[in-house]
Amino acid sequence: MTAAQTSTRPQRSGGKELFVAQQLTKTFGRGRRTVDAVKAVDFTVVEGDITTIVGESGSGKSTLARMVLGLLPITSGTLTFEGRDVTHLRGAARRAYWRDVQAVFQDPFAAFNQFFTVRRLLERSLRLLGDARDGRQRMEEALAHVGFAAADVLDRYPHELSGGQRQRVMIARALMMRPKVLVADEATSMLDASLRVNVLNVLTDLRDELDMTILFITHDIGQACYIADRVMVLEHGVLVEQGPAEDVIFRPQQEYTQRLLADVPKLHQLPDPGPAGSAAVAST
């Protein structure tokens, strides 16, 4: 069946601080048209954690992610990565940073050139980093992490892959760089429920097996609940609440967080019994 108990979830945190953001701010536009998308946000991301950013549409989640990725100039505040200031990276320093910090975005369909095979897509990214030497090996390794045998997918075209398969290829592409951090912005929101848990399981395995640090952006509290170690809650650009997932999701302090949770559509009208009834089977 589909549910299995893992008796203990390894208690996380205590790792070193990978990112430290202080008063991180992004303002778009000038004058009357100004949009304060992210307002003086302070947070730390601990190595080996899955940190989830939740909040309503337009609350600044993607903007925050793009600042962390160095894809968007930071208006004010500072961001450090492994103790180094990465607030205003450019050129070679920024490219070096991207070896450590990789991204997977929402649309697994848009990111593909439909005339390229998976092999060509992956080779291209390797080349962009000027790193084709052990390319073949890295490719196989990365595909294995997302549950693919290289021979089975390398020569396929995007239209020959399902949405979930494509998203796993995108994760593999990011993993090829052997990054320390993976930033996933709504990477699972276009997938159906079954593919979605598949990809979420890949992410938790990466954390557990490779000690990968993951910044996971989602509008869906159900997904945050399933994978997050820590949760950050954004409201109109302000970080209103953050902490261990259990606290934020089951004992929210802020009214906004409480409302986000209360709004979740109930699948069943009646309270559910135990863990998926008697469905649980042992899993490894």
């Binding site: 549910a3 509008h219 609940c225 089951f250």
Partner: protein, 364 residues
């Protein structure tokens, strides 16, 4: 009750470059009554968007309707290449909000100009101020700030763009709206605002019906009156929304439900596995019941015999198990199995190919 849309025995296929047929809609019958929201659910690649394209008469090569009939407001529709659809029919009688439309809005136009263009294409004499008043109202209904009107698409967040395309698709007050995954980028309160707007439009009879396509069952439960579950080109179960979610009769519906993640403490510690394997390649679907390779309740006849339909037009399940257990709901934990026949690891790329999202009619 007046029947708004009535589709019978639709069969449609994509012709591949080497001339083979991918039958993405296979003997599908559905109807929508006036005032009703019909939900369509199913995994990626099961034919939901293809069905939406057919019902909105957006059938373009390589997709072809092979057989079946479609009546909209009592009028028989013609699918042929020569079918003459009045210019004003699309968008005002039936409006399709295609999947992924949020990613294909013209990047060079402001939202206000995009909206006015849609209205003017339909009615040359439309006044700009009238059109924009309507846009402003709907934008407010969906919880978007007024500045969205003056914004270019790149200045909007993902969920804002998704709501803008919904506004555009309802601007002409269509009789029937077919919305394909309109909430995938939306948080729950934005989802709710969108659902409330659609329901309000139905109540005020601005629209007469909605077909809501999504793989998100919790959303469908809130928005729709009835849900049709599709698997591999066929509708396998139809029921009232609450009934389908609480008492699914088809093992596939039960399996879909078991993959849904909700914020409850038990989800912190359990590993949800999803449905093993993937939907079949529709070039060559499995014989018998198409779900049998993945079904935890499969019996010998499932491998060979097309399942019978048990129930009525409003509540049925096409399944051998359902036929043997009339009126019973599937025990959710029994619906899926741990691995496919042959004990192959399920997550390998050897899984049957499901080509997702290519038939959505969205320009990319």
């Amino acid at each position: 009750m007046t029947r708004l849309l009535d589709a019978r025995n639709l069969r449609a296929a994509y012709r591949t470059q080497d001339g083979r047929l991918v039958r993405a809609v296979d003997d599908v019958s559905v109807h929508v009554d006036e005032g009703e929201v019909l939900g369509v659910a199913g995994e990626s690649g099961c034919g939901k968007s293809t069905l939406g394209a057919i019902l909105s008469l957006n059938v373009r090569s390589p997709l072809q309707v092979e057989s079946g009939t479609l009546d909209i407001e009592g009028k028989r529709q013609d699918f042929g290449a020569s079918a003459k659809i009045p210019r004003t029919w699309r968008g005002s009688v039936v409006s399709l909000l295609p999947q992924g439309a949020m990613n294909s809005i013209s990047p060079t136009m402001r939202v206000r100009d995009l909206c006015f263009d849609v209205v003017r294409a339909h009615d040359r004499r439309a006044r700009r101020s009238d059109a924009l008043d309507r846009v402003r109202d709907r934008i407010a209904d969906l919880g978007l700030p007024p500045r969205v009107l003056d914004a270019y698409p790149h200045q909007l967040s993902g969920g804002m763009k998704q709501r803008v395309v919904t506004v555009i698709s309802t601007l002409l007050n269509p009789r029937l709206l077919i919305a394909d995954e309109p909430t995938s980028a939306l948080d729950v309160s934005s989802q709710r605002a969108l659902i409330e707007m659609l329901k309000e439009m139905l109540e005020q009879k601005i629209m007469a019906g909605v077909i809501f396509v999504t793989h998100d069952l919790p959303v469908l439960r809130t928005v729709s009156d009835r849900i049709a579950v599709m698997y591999a080109g066929k509708i396998v179960e139809v029921a009232d929304a609450g009934d389908l979610v609480d008492r699914p009769r088809h093992p596939y519906s039960a399996a879909l439900l078991s993959s849904v993640l909700v914020p409850e403490p038990r989800y912190r510690t359990m590993r949800v596995k999803g449905i093993p394997g993937a939907p079949p390649n529709l070039l060559d679907p499995p014989p018998g019941c198409r779900f049998h390779p993945r079904c935890g309740l499969a019996m010998p006849q499932c491998h060979t015999d097309e399942p019978p339909t048990d129930g009525t037009e409003l509540r049925y399940s096409a399944c051998h198990w359902s036929a043997q257990h009339p009126g019973e709901s599937v025990p959710v934990e029994a619906a899926t199995r741990d691995e496919l026949d042959g004990g192959e690891p399920l997550d390998r790329a050897g899984e049957p190919v499901a080509l997702a999202g290519d038939g959505t009619g969205v320009g990319r």
